[in-house]
């Protein structure tokens, strides 16, 4: 729990305060100093238009992390709702919702996201939509699974007998028990969102220039692979470290939850 909190705070701080730590304007063009090496005014060098790479990375954190957070939360809300409806709604509802979930799962997410984002036209909104539509299924699966096992628990039966409304039962008896599993799924989905946002950005379907975003920065840097390879090292390394940190937190969390609860 503590590690998730620390990570969330750290990433949140990076997303919120990152831009104010930037030494330069991320969009200020400085042609004489284009493709500069690290050092001096530009700690990590400059890109093809002479823009400060470090400043762009820090501003990009807001986009990459902020969007990933929004997308993973939309998925969390939608998936939990669908999963709980399946677990609580009886066999027919369960069957129908799970077939829909399977259909969404049966398709490679990135391909679906590329098609959706591409067809809707490249914009931040279609990016959010595309990645949310393809990112709720794991939450639904997990909340349905835990929900089904809760249905036969004593306190849930008692709540039903007591005449508590289904919504209140979901809120008070299912959600608290779902929390831990959902947090584990959430860390995984946060990492996935970061990879997919920059992946779509790299393909040209994501956040549009000149907005600094890690994937788009990679796309820009690709052209200068021969002359200025460092340019593509920075955003890649940033993505790698961020995703690695989130994944490791998720693993630690899973391990600590796998230990038996206190009786």
């Amino acid at each position: 729990m503590r590690s998730v909190l620390a990570l969330t705070v750290a990433l949140g701080a990076l997303a919120v305060f990152g831009p104010s730590l930037a030494p330069n304007d991320p969009n200020a063009i400085d042609i004489p100093n284009r493709l500069a090496s690290p050092g001096g005014t530009y700690l990590l060098g400059t890109d093809a238009l002479g823009r400060c790479v470090l400043s762009r990375l820090l501003h990009g954190a807001t986009w990459s992390l902020g969007l990933a957070f929004i997308i993973s939360m939309i998925g969390l809300a939608a998936g939990t709702l669908i999963g709980l409806a399946a677990a609580m709604g009886g066999r027919l509802v369960d069957w129908a919702l799970m077939r829909v979930t399977d259909s969404f799962l049966a398709f490679p997410e990135l391909v679906a996201a590329v098609v959706i984002a591409g067809v809707l036209g490249a914009s931040t909104w279609s990016l959010i939509f595309a990645l949310s539509v393809t990112g709720w299924m794991r939450y639904a699966r997990v909340s349905r699974g835990v929900g089904l096992s809760l249905r036969e628990r004593g306190h849930v039966i008692q709540a039903r007998l007591a005449g508590l409304s289904p919504i209140a039962i979901a809120q008070w008896h299912y959600l608290p028990a779902l929390g831990p599993s959902l947090i584990v799924v959430w860390t995984g989905m946060l990492a996935r969102s970061i990879l997919f946002i920059s992946g779509l950005g790299f393909l040209g379907f994501g956040v549009q220039p000149p907005t600094p975003e890690w994937g788009t920065m990679l796309l820009d840097a690709r052209v200068h692979l021969r002359s200025t390879p460092l340019l593509m090292i920075w955003p890649g390394l940033t993505i790698l470290i961020t995703v690695l940190a989130i994944n490791l937190t998720g693993d630690a969390l899973r391990d600590s939850l796998a230990k038996p609860e206190r009786a």
Binding site: E109, V114, V115, I116, G118, L195, S198, R222, L225
Partner: protein, 311 residues
Amino acid sequence: MIVLVEVLLRSIVVLTLTALVTFTLLWHAPGDPAMAIALARYDAVVPPDVLEQIRAQTGLDAGYWPAFWHWIKPLLTGDFGNSSVSGRPIWPDLRDAFGLTLPLALAGLAIGLLISVPLAIYASRQPGSWIDRGAVAVASIGAAMPAYWLGLLLILLFSVRLGWLPAMGAQGPTHLILPALTLGLGVAASLTRILRSGLLEAREAPFLPALARRGVPANRIGRDHVAPHAAIPVVTVLGLELAFLLEGAVIVEVIFARPGLGTFLIDAIFARDFPKVQAVVIVTALLFVTVNLLIDLVYRVIDPRTRLSGA
């Protein structure tokens, strides 16, 4: 038998839903589809009567369901229709593109298996040893590594710095090496993790000490009892890996300018060539449904628990 029917039925439901969702998405895509076709075809704004002609040709004028039927009916007989941009039939181009993606995916899978299987077996023999920790660390980094970045790094090393391998195109077998490596390393990362934990779990199975006490040799326990246990998650994972391979192929093909299925899709989207987009989606869905169906059946053969409950 009942199981087979249910699985088949489920596949049909998934395919139908995919087709419907795709069509609905394209139907509601921003802009006039007829205008998009006209622009793509003639590269100029065209008079209204030409637009009408295009609408009639493509079934667009009749409304949602007739237009859907206009697409689905030939599809059921294997006809993917014509590109709205070039007017050429889609199938031959799609087949050629698939012919380039398939070797890439297979080579990626082979590289992934070649790395992960020995690594996971070695690592799980001595949990906690330096080789085990190293394997876990490499796998964790691999899982967090964006494929597009890995591809660029490989180009930087092998093409730019060392000059050993070509970075672009698909002319010969050497062109396959770097893309396959990019894909394979990603596969290896996730497979190593899953295989390792599967093997560790199987090694901790409660009946193994009893076998050892009975005097069954260690290598026979490994072969006859541990391996089959670890195989169950692997079969599941292979299904997921297929998704990974296809997603990876899209990105890898773009990085290495390889004219496969991924490039085909991206080009079609940028050209707003919707019939091509639909074709790729349907082929992908068909591929997935078939593989999932096979996995489902294999699963029932190797895992006695599902055999019982599936009856």
